[in-house]
């Protein structure tokens, strides 16, 4: 009894220990996005609330929370309000199996990768329900686009992850990372390079970010699926989207870039004064995640938006065939032990 209680409290503490930093990370990711894109666009970005605009995210949250949530007259109230929650919950729940360092995680489950795939697929229901329940033509178009797009990219993304699964021989995220230890050249980005590219691009598409933001499509369908949302309901969509971005980046770091493993490992630095660089640390994981997040922002500042049918073509006719071919290549490499990764 007592043990159960302690276990429960400890688990709750761990959940809070993951969720609160995650929410803070989302807050500062929005600021980073505005700052980074600002500098790419020869402007300053937010700089009025606090030093260098550091309190801007809190001002935004405060503003959004105080605004009225407008319910469109002919919307379905229940679905309209549950949709943001459906988007947000999987984005957070997926973090349960993400290891931050060797053995540091909320839940160590052997089907970790499968669990993540299952949960990230759920997020799209929020988008579709939101678009449907709003009873608006713009939102409806956004939902339709999103539904079609997710089907295509979910497959490409799944296949890319199957490549990792074959390479590592396990679905456990912790073991996937430890299987990559050795050196920079042992990480899976090298043998699985096409899959890495496809995984990340699919991830961008999955999170509805530019240049694949057709479900939102600012200049076409105004705000797409969340055109009718305001205040806290909109904030929750926002939170979900950014939490998903961080998740995709973190997973890319874990599965292709050796997670918390140091890039200086195996370079012969062990035993020298630079030995401290070779140790594994969650800082490496954090840095790699930030790198992928930066790519997100960079894409957004650079690329025009795809048209919805072009995205589908890219997904079905380019990505899925490439992943299937590369899966065969990886399988052959693993079976015949070609290369030093296995």
């Amino acid at each position: 009894m007592m043990d159960d209680l302690i276990w429960l409290i400890w688990t709750l503490a761990k959940i809070i220990g993951i969720a609160v930093p995650l929410i803070l990370a989302v807050a500062y990711l929005t600021l980073a996005e505005r700052k980074v894109i600002g500098f790419m666009q020869v402007r300053m970005g937010p700089n009025r609330v606090g030093p260098w605009g550091l309190f801007q995210p809190f001002a935004d949250v405060l503003k959004l929370l105080m605004k009225e949530i407008i319910l469109p007259a002919k919307s379905n109230r229940f679905l309209f309000l549950i949709a943001p929650v459906i988007t947000l919950a999987p984005a957070f729940a997926a973090w349960a199996v993400v290891p931050f360092d060797d053995g540091i995680h909320l839940a160590q489950i052997d089907a970790g990768l499968l669990y993540i795939l299952a949960l990230t697929s759920l997020g799209v229901y929020g988008v579709i329900i939101a678009g449907w329940a709003s009873n608006s033509k713009y939102a409806f178009l956004g939902a339709m686009r999103s539904a079609a797009q997710i089907v295509a990219y979910e497959i490409a993304m799944g296949f890319a992850l199957v490549g990792v699964l074959i390479a590592a021989g396990t679905l456990n995220l912790n073991s996937i990372v430890t299987a990559q230890s050795g050196s920079l050249m042992h990480w899976y980005w090298l043998p699985l390079f096409p899959l890495l590219v496809i995984y990340f691009i699919s991830g961008v598409a999955e999170t509805n970010r530019a240049p694949f933001d057709v479900a939102e499509g600012e200049s076409e369908i105004v705000a797409g699926f969340h055109v009718e949302y305001s205040g806290a309901a909109f904030a929750i969509f926002f939170l979900g989207e950014y939490a998903n971005m961080i998740l995709i980046s973190a997973l890319a770091a874990l599965m292709f870039f050796g997670g918390w493993l140091s890039p200086f490992q195996g370079l012969g630095l062990e035993g020298t004064p630079l030995d401290f660089l070779t140790g594994s640390s969650f800082i490496w994981f954090f840095a790699k995640t930030c790198f992928f997040l930066y790519l997100y922002l960079w894409f957004r500042a650079t690329f025009p938006r795809y048209r919805y049918d072009q995205i589908m073509r890219l997904g079905w006719k380019v990505f899925i065939p490439i992943t299937i071919v590369w899966l065969l290549v990886v399988a052959v490499m693993v079976v015949y032990q070609i290369g030093w990764w296995w």
């Binding site: 033509k137 025009p304 795809y306 048209r307 919805y308």
Partner: protein
Amino acid sequence: MSEIRNYTMNFGPQHPSAHGVLRLILEMDGEVVQRADPHIGLLHRGTEKLAESKPFNQSIGYMDRLDYVSMMCNEHAYVAAIEKLLGVEVPERALYIRTMFDEMTRILNHLMWIGTHGLDLGAMTLFLYAFREREQLMDCYEAVSGARMHATYYRPGGVYRDLPDRMPKHAESRWTKGKDLTRVNEWREGSMLDFIEAFTKDFFERVDEYETLLTDNRIWKQRTVGIGVVSPERALQLGFTGPMLRGSGIAWDLRKKQPYAKYADVDFDIPIGVNGDCYDRYVVRMEEFRESARIILQCVDWLRNNQGPVIARDFKVSPPSREEMKDDMEALIHHFKLFTEGYCAPAGEAYAAIEAPKGEFGCYIISDGANKPYRLKVRAPGFPHLAAMEEMVKGHMLSDVVAVIGTQDIVFGEIDR
């Protein structure tokens, strides 16, 4: 079996890419547009009617507000029509200044176009790059006329005043100081012509920079190639002018075909497209940036070496100088008459058209001998372009509607008038 129907969508006027107040009624089959019906008139201000109740000169300011991103070009057509009506000779220096400012206006307009066109298609960085350059040109507007946008700089008989000897500088502020201040004022040390020259020479590089972002970008090409195709014959039938017509491969440009101001004396080329799609029109306009810059450099060169009056010395049409008014009764009377009653144009009619950045912008004035026009008709290039909207977007997807709106470079100030 249930009945399947197309549905109608209201696109605008409150829409991020409605370019002001465009209202499109779209009949959609899924994402595919079956019918597009543009509704206009939301920005109607009755410019043509207003002009009938005011002395000629007082309507120049209204012209700025027609196509509010190519201000001086509109003024140019209006004052050219008045000059034709009155038979006033314009001094050569004024003609060069007009040529230069027409081209600067073309750059201003095209910068606005590339920015919003890019933004519509999701390339948002370009918008801010374009506005960085626009800001410099706006400063030129301000330096000659005192207003950043609605300049009222062209007058019948010439231009309001000569170019300033000194380009205004940025003042020190909390945000711009020290090195930043020297950098932003680097081009502004000399005269205005020095500034324009420095800007224009740098501008070629800027255009290259814009092109690196878009011209060979695969996504950009996928979004624009083959979208909104207009055949050369159809473009002529629809009354297209400007880059819309040249994009379809017809080398029609009033600056070459019916030269006005000093276009016969400067050297430039007319870029034309091949396929008549959004991408070709994009390339044509990008090339026009460079041609405009070439013309500006030639004008700067001439203006530097040749002084002279900038407005006809005909006190019936243009005001006398302040000095003359101090000790010359006649001059004072002229001034008073000009700014109260204006001048009377002989009965008759005149049409003057110029190659505005969007196409042929013309003013048709009928005078009955009074001090105001009996009727003013403005030929706005955007109007026939918008009328072809349905033809251009039919069978395309919703996202392409946005691309076509961008490529038409629509401004509602001139369409609704």
